[in-house]
């Protein structure tokens, strides 16, 4: 394989890998505080992109993105308060069905608000045909925006969880809800906050990827499935491992094009998901005994 072709595949893989990783981290944040897999995670990405596109006509692009992220966070919080907060120890099955219902509902509302058309944000720098050379390969500068924004988010999140009080409280809730409550932490607020946080990072990812991938009302489901595969691959609940797993999946998908017909690209993620579920459900980077302690 020619070196520039290699770099070209690699860049495509890394871009997608980061987006999958962000969706997977969104899953993990909510999973850690609640034990719920939020099947509507992909819809946050869609909402972020769609809102930013609508606002972009009214306010400058950076403001539009900031507003879109804020509104999506608000929606995330509202969803949690309306549909989840007051449930008393709901069963896993019930939560799966509720979040699937939410995902359908958000998607259908988006369809009736924005219509079926495909939209996109303008490129942050340059336009559709601007390219820059990276090690002999030519890529859009937007790819660097995606990679930059996503790695920034990952970095900020890890600092947030490690060093801020709020982050520590959230981790405490994830580790042991009862003990956290005894320490004066209100776990319900932490849950609301985790929904806001994962809605926010999803929305931001939705904004930065929109110029490259375009946004339409139905993009959420596909992203959620990829994101979930990555979350499982890394070990459910482990956000840093999700980044590694996301990059792995993105790169595998990109390179698969050279050997497999493209029609099978999506099947790769599903196949990996099934294999990992059957063989190593605690993930590539997780420990079996640790996974055994968690509720599924």
């Amino acid at each position: 394989m020619a070196p520039e072709l290699f770099v070209q595949y690699l860049m495509a893989g890394v871009t997608y890998g980061f987006i999958y990783a962000i969706v997977a981290i969104g899953f993990n944040i909510i999973y850690n505080t609640t034990g719920i897999i939020n099947f509507a995670q992909g819809e946050f990405v869609m909402l972020g992109g769609m809102l930013a596109i609508s606002l972009n006509g009214l306010v400058p692009l950076p403001v539009a993105i900031a507003l879109a992220v804020a509104i999506t966070m608000l929606i995330g919080a509202l969803l949690e308060i309306t549909f989840i907060r007051w449930l008393d120890r709901p069963s896993v099955l019930r939560m799966i069905i509720i979040t699937i219902g939410l995902s359908i509902l958000i998607r259908e509302v988006a369809l009736h608000v924005w219509g079926e058309s495909v939209r996109a944000l303008p490129y942050f720098s340059g336009n559709e045909i601007t390219t820059i050379a990276v090690l002999g390969a030519r890529v859009s500068p937007q790819i660097l925006w995606v990679i930059g924004a996503c790695s920034l988010m990952v970095g900020t999140l890890s600092l947030f969880f490690r060093y801020t009080l709020l982050g520590q409280e959230m981790r405490a809730c994830a580790a042991n809800r009862m003990a956290a409550t005894l320490c004066g932490i209100n776990p319900r607020n932490m849950v609301t906050f985790s929904f806001m946080l994962s809605a926010g990072i999803g929305a931001l990812a939705g904004c930065v990827m929109s110029p490259i991938t375009s946004t339409e009302y139905s993009i959420g489901t596909g992203l959620a499935i990829k994101g979930f595969t990555v979350a499982i691959l890394g070990g459910l609940g482990n956000s840093m491992a999700a980044v590694a797993a996301g990059l792995l999946l993105g790169i595998i998908e990109a390179f698969s094009v050279s050997v497999l017909p493209l029609a099978f690209q999506d099947a790769i993620a599903i196949t990996i998901l099934l294999i990992i579920l059957f063989v190593r459900p605690h993930g590539l980077f997780g420990r079996k005994d640790a996974a055994g302690l968690k509720e599924f």
């Binding site: 020619a2 072709l5 070209q8 595949y9 860049m11 495509a12 893989g13 871009t15 997608y16 369809l111 219509g115 079926e116 058309s117 495909v118 939209r119 996109a120 303008p122 490129y123 336009n127 559709e128 045909i129 601007t130 390219t131 390969a137 030519r138 890529v139 859009s140 990827m209 490259i212 991938t213 375009s214 339409e216 139905s218 993009i219 596909g222 998908e253 990109a254 390179f255 094009v257 050279s258 017909p261 493209l262 029609a263 690209q265 999506d266």
Partner: protein
């Protein structure tokens, strides 16, 4: 016993319909004509069904405001199939038997149309499909017509242009929708006739959001002189962007599915120089004055864009043609279904958005290859494409 009863009932209904058709002629009593529409307003084919449903709604209002067709008001019943064949089947039976519609417009996709072709035939109800596949009208079913141009005309038109440009080795990519797969087959079939070799052939998922890896693979083959992409939104904008971003400047041909200025906007600067076949709707204002379609196209464009505040697309045009063909036939033949069917079948020189229709008992589509024009994108607008004017396509970027 019950079966017999059911059969008997059906026969009586059929007899009643026949009897009614014997009595009906000449007498033009005002009545409400029910027209059913099965369209994919939501779901994966919503980009087709959405504009189609809005167009029909607009035309119905327009005709009824004028007092209907010869005093007969139109009642439009739109059913959203979501692109699912099983729903199209259910709705077709419902519209035919329960609503007793005069005719059905739609479905939007070929798969759905093929599922209800026999139902319309058995129910003796006129079906004006808005889907492109040739199997819809070949073999000809007595009651089934379609308004979009055949896919193979689009493929032929593309190859004609390539030949004129001196291109003989190409890459063909398509998505995995019915539209993309039909196009792929037509390209493969027509290529040898024009002496064109398809070096690379790839199918990607219609939801694909990034094709840069695919583009890299195609670009790695130095013999590829042009790329043909046959897909629906959003991939057709994405492939254009990815090709230009990769610094690849070979001409990009798209299918007639590119016929909406929105897709040009989505691809932005990368859309410049894309060449594709389409009905003349998109270049209505640039047509010469003597073009027979000009007046029709401008009217539809003005009405649609004025009412829905969105750009007109060729897909809505298919529904426009279906509705206008039906209403003209009713105007000619009255409200007797059999006569209207015959009127459609013998309709000649009908000027629609897709071209000039000349139906015959053997041809239930009525369009020829000239219904397509080759267009290109210049400064974010559609303009007619001429090989001479384009000169060296490689420099166009």
């Amino acid at each position: 016993m019950k079966k017999l009863l059911g059969k008997g009932l059906w026969k009586i209904t059929a007899a009643a319909v026949c009897a009614a058709s014997l009595i009906a002629p000449a007498v033009s009593r005002a009545e409400t004509i029910k027209v059913g529409a099965i369209l994919a307003v939501t779901g994966p084919a919503a980009f087709l069904g959405g504009p189609e449903a809005r167009t029909l709604e607009m035309l119905t209002d327009e005709i009824n405001a004028k007092g209907g067709i010869k005093g007969n008001k139109i009642q439009l019943i739109v059913k959203d199939s979501g692109g699912s064949p099983e729903k199209a089947i259910s709705f077709a039976k419902q519209l035919i038997e329960e609503e007793k519609v005069f005719a059905i417009i739609g479905p939007s996709t070929s798969g759905e149309t093929m599922k209800i072709k026999n139902i319309a035939e058995e129910g003796k109800t006129i079906l004006l499909s808005c889907a492109a596949a040739e199997v819809i009208v070949n073999p000809v079913a007595k009651y089934v017509f379609k308004t979009p141009q055949k896919d193979d005309y689009a493929a032929q038109k593309i190859f004609e242009t390539m030949k004129a440009m001196g291109i003989s080795k190409i890459a063909a990519v398509s998505d995995n929708t019915g539209f993309g797969q039909a196009g792929k087959a037509q390209l493969a079939e027509a290529a040898p006739k024009f002496g064109i070799q398809i070096l690379e052939n790839e199918v990607y998922d219609s939801k694909a959001t990034d094709l840069s890896a695919l583009v890299a693979k195609l670009k790695a083959n130095p013999n590829v002189q042009a790329v043909v992409n046959w897909s629906i939104v959003p991939a057709q904008s994405i492939i254009a962007k990815n090709m230009r971003q990769a610094g690849w400047t070979v001409p990009l041909f798209q299918s007639h599915g590119f016929g909406n200025i929105k897709y040009v906007e989505a691809a932005g600067a990368a859309a410049e120089g894309i060449i594709f076949p389409a009905g003349r709707l998109l270049i209505a204002d640039q047509l010469p004055k003597n073009n027979p379609q000009k007046a029709v196209l401008l009217k539809y464009k003005k009405d649609y864009e004025g009412r829905f505040k969105e750009d007109v697309s060729t897909f809505g045009g298919h529904a426009y043609d279906a509705f206008e063909i039906l209403s003209r036939a009713i105007e000619q033949a009255g409200t007797d279904r059999e006569k209207v069917r015959t009127a459609i079948e013998n309709m000649k020189g009908f000027v629609g958005t897709g071209g000039v229709f000349n139906f015959s008992p053997q041809d239930h589509n009525g369009l020829n290859i000239d219904s397509f024009a080759m267009l290109t994108v210049k400064n974010g607008k559609f303009v007619p494409y001429t090989v001479a004017a384009a000169g060296q396509p490689k420099k166009k970027k």
